[in-house]
Symmetry: C2
């Protein structure tokens, strides 16, 4: 099957997807992206981030609108529950990245999807962040993703998930870690 | 200064915070938490997560309301821009976790905060996820957080940020990585 026979599959514009890959192959500079969030403390454990501008494809760009998200702790963790906890956004990021990849990879391979659902769980022992144990890490001890896919042949669907995992930005960050630098202007 | 002299500082209920830490010290089981997201593919790179239930303090709990978040790619990355990209949620998670920690640590130390603002940047070279280079990683190559704090003495504020970093769940996950298991039900 050629791209022109079915340019939109699973909601993915495969013609544009392949054209984008070819454009990047011809000019690697297009692939340099920088994403940004600004965050403002509200009160207690409640704070709010805005995601709007980013750099990519050699220019400054913006999302169609600013996306604004609150984070907080629930009452059991001494907050007001004005938003999810910060660690829950990691679960969303992982599910979202793998799922977007599944849709793209399936479309590129000519595999039809009818549904993709997932649950992500993260286990955390708060003895770490509460400073009650030096042996317990602060973050999740493990994360588990369970996908349920329907569509073409099960073997093809499994292979699509595996390829998505191999090329997932969030899976890479969460499993391998990234250097994080923190600068402070205090006055 | 004792807790009872100023039980609410920076919006943090320090009396409850200290009581919670003492309760966990007395029964470590309270500290076992599990957070969860469910995600559903919409179309193309657009999908949606719900954050609602979690386990903690020895019982099943829920947020006051389900929190629902879309993720998508912008047009330049062959999406419809119905939400931020998955990797941008990592930036929000990091800013939110460090900022909540700053508020808690400052309150616990009797340090006043008047404002906490931050910008988080993540650099990513898409040659990795596009499969155009085996030498470029899929995820962020580095992340940078810039905090601007106002309130008490600058040295105290800097020390508060450093302690928050030392006890941040998201900072730990992003810098050290976590094992992630993926299960697939394809049919």
């Amino acid at each position: 099957m050629t791209v022109t026979e079915n340019p939109i599959r699973n909601g993915v514009d495969t013609a544009t997807l392949f054209a984008t890959i070819e454009a990047v192959r011809g000019n690697n500079e297009i692939a340099d992206f920088q994403f940004r969030a600004t965050n403002k403390w509200v009160s207690g454990t409640h704070n709010q981030s805005t995601l709007h501008g980013f750099f990519g494809a050699t220019q400054e760009m913006t999302h169609k609108q600013p996306f604004i998200f609150d984070a907080d702790h629930p009452a059991v963790l001494v907050g007001q529950d004005n938003g999810p906890t910060p660690v829950e956004f990691l679960l969303h990021a992982l599910a979202a990245c793998l799922t977007a990849g599944i849709a793209n990879v399936a479309a590129a391979r000519g595999v039809n999807l009818t549904s993709v659902e997932s649950t992500v769980e993260g286990d955390i022992d708060l003895l770490g962040i509460l400073g009650l144990s030096d042996e317990v890490r602060n973050g999740y001890q493990q994360m588990r993703v369970s996908f349920t896919l329907r569509g073409d042949d099960p073997e093809k669907l499994r292979a699509v998930v595996e390829q998505s995992r191999k090329r997932s930005a969030v899976f890479d960050v969460l499993t391998n870690g990234v250097p994080v630098a923190i600068a402070v202007d205090a006055g």
